[in-house]
Point group: C2
Chain length 300, copies 2
DNA sequence: TTGTTTATTTGTCCTAGACAAACCACCTGT
DNA sequence: ACAGGTGGTTTGTCTAGGACAAATAAACAA
């Protein structure tokens, strides 16, 4: 068990904190203080990387770095599960059911999870399944991940299995043929795709024609795709992790590049706190997405 | 049509060239030379970004930056479609069939593409479908993209539709129950998933039990997942775009973190030029992957 | 209490230098 | 002619510290 330590690039990959930030924190707060290798380069021991990951999690929850750096390790651990009013959104019995599904993931029982989800789908029907199971479950898992109750790889497994399920369901629907044609995608740095899949499932159910481009499509290429597919609507998804400050600028850039007759929608946790913007419809919830779809009328 | 230009972070996102590299090239080769905004920060015009993307593509093909920077734009364009022995891998009639599939994508005919692929699947059976259709088609599309014959969004559509197809096929197979248990995933910065899905399809067909974690899982979490799922094999995928020089270090780090009884496999275009390494099996082709699976014996 | 101004915090960008690993070209010995 | 070593060049990544604007918190006014 040699512990050669991680170089700064490895820490950036593992924590999501940029090299600039890592160096700046060291300069400003005196943490992390990595050792140095023979070349004088930073060499982070594993325990500091672990602590950095915890700090990153807490920051994503809204804590500020200055406080976190000053806090003792114990104080940090105390801070973790603090969550104001989050779980109050669901009824208690629903929470229990969601917890049961999360428990399957935490038991690494992929088959059991898939079976349970299939049962729920059959019982609830697609519309309610997406709205009452997949959507709250995704939030639930996200929160559990933020609190450290669910490991990163468990969250990945959840995402992967759920993606499959949704794609399978979508494939089993009669493909939408009516307008509007909806182009669904996300920008670079945004890799959360579950929201897009939920929207696609609901839109396809409504008979609309969806063009799924997957995630991380550069702005210019979204515009080109919109034109090539003669899309009526371009739907973008922004997760809570997406740097919110960049969103308005990106949206107006895209707005300028697509034809005026094409509607631009932006949805996901990342846009809920955003101010309204000309030429862009912000979608807060899945209900809102369906409502917006029904509102749509050809502009020509 | 204002063209405010891209800041250095946007260019990093869009080209995959790090900020350090962009600044270094400017210093050394005199390209790119972005304008400066009011704060003295770099502001890359769109045409320079386009050229950088082309350069990145050519570098992934093995060209060296020094030459590319010196070359005139025309020389660069000349260089692009030059492809030594690539398309010679397939028989001519196969190439024609692949071209027909690509044509469907370029015509943005998602339904037609899916139907054509389903037909091929039915005709060839899963094993040959993956080996003789999906794998060469993916290479074909990748090359067409590198040469600029296929747009980015068309490549995204291809990937998304093919992902769905493969996942659907995998779901329709009886889930593997026998050992080995194979954990399939990729590291952060690696988002190509088609190779993993092809492997999963073939492994599942062989009766092995696959645990798909999706892409971009941090090293530590792969190790934790391997332990939690008691994986016999950890299979990683590296695309050609992944920084090859980092791979050996990453593999040996992961090797140190998983139990000795767990086998480590690395596959994908990114590892074909790599030197052999202790404790890691490099998988060159899908055939090789199947052979490796059949070779596997419990270590205890 | 609410709105506005000032102060602090925080991330990102900047320049410019150093160096190791990878690569190429040349030279040598078989 | 060709395998193998050797030295020079190319190339990416790291380092240090400085600067500044956007976001947030704090102080103050109405």
């Amino acid at each position: 068990m040699n512990s050669p330590g991680f170089n700064i690039a490895a820490v950036e990959r593992d924590t999501g904190l940029s090299k600039d930030v890592l160096r700046m924190w060291e300069r400003r707060y005196g943490f992390p203080v990595p050792e140095r290798d023979a070349n004088g380069e930073r060499c982070y021991p594993a325990d500091q990387v672990d602590r950095l990951r915890l700090i990153k999690r807490l920051m994503d929850q809204g804590h500020r770095p200055g406080k976190l750096m000053a806090a003792s390790p114990e104080a940090l651990a105390e801070l973790a599960p603090r969550r104001p009013q989050a779980t109050a959104r669901c009824l208690p019995e629903d929470t229990a059911e969601l917890d049961a599904l999360v428990a399957l993931i935490k038991a690494h029982d992929a088959a059991g999870y898939q079976q349970a989800m299939q049962q729920r789908l059959a019982r609830q029907g697609l519309l309610r399944f997406v709205q009452d199971t997949v959507a709250p479950l995704t939030i639930h898992v996200g929160e559990a991940w933020e609190d450290g109750r669910v490991a990163v790889f468990e969250e990945h497994l959840y995402t992967e299995l759920t993606k499959r399920l949704l794609r399978q369901v979508i494939a089993s629907l009669p493909p939408g043929t009516r307008r509007p044609r909806v182009l669904l995608t996300s920008l670079p740095d945004e890799l959360h795709v579950l929201g897009l899949l939920m929207a696609e499932a609901l839109f396809t159910l409504e008979g609309a024609q969806c063009i799924p481009l997957g995630t991380q499509v550069p702005l210019v290429d979204i515009a080109r795709a919109a034109e090539a597919h003669r899309a009526d609507i371009v739907g973008l998804s922004f997760s809570a992790a997406f740097p919110a400050r960049q969103i308005p600028g990106l949206l107006s850039q895209l707005r300028a590049q697509i034809p005026p007759s094409t509607t631009l929608w932006a949805g996901g946790r990342g846009v809920t706190r955003l101010a309204a913007q000309d030429g862009v419809r912000l979608i807060d919830t899945l209900d809102d997405a369906i409502a917006a779809l029904r509102d749509w009328r050809p502009t020509i």
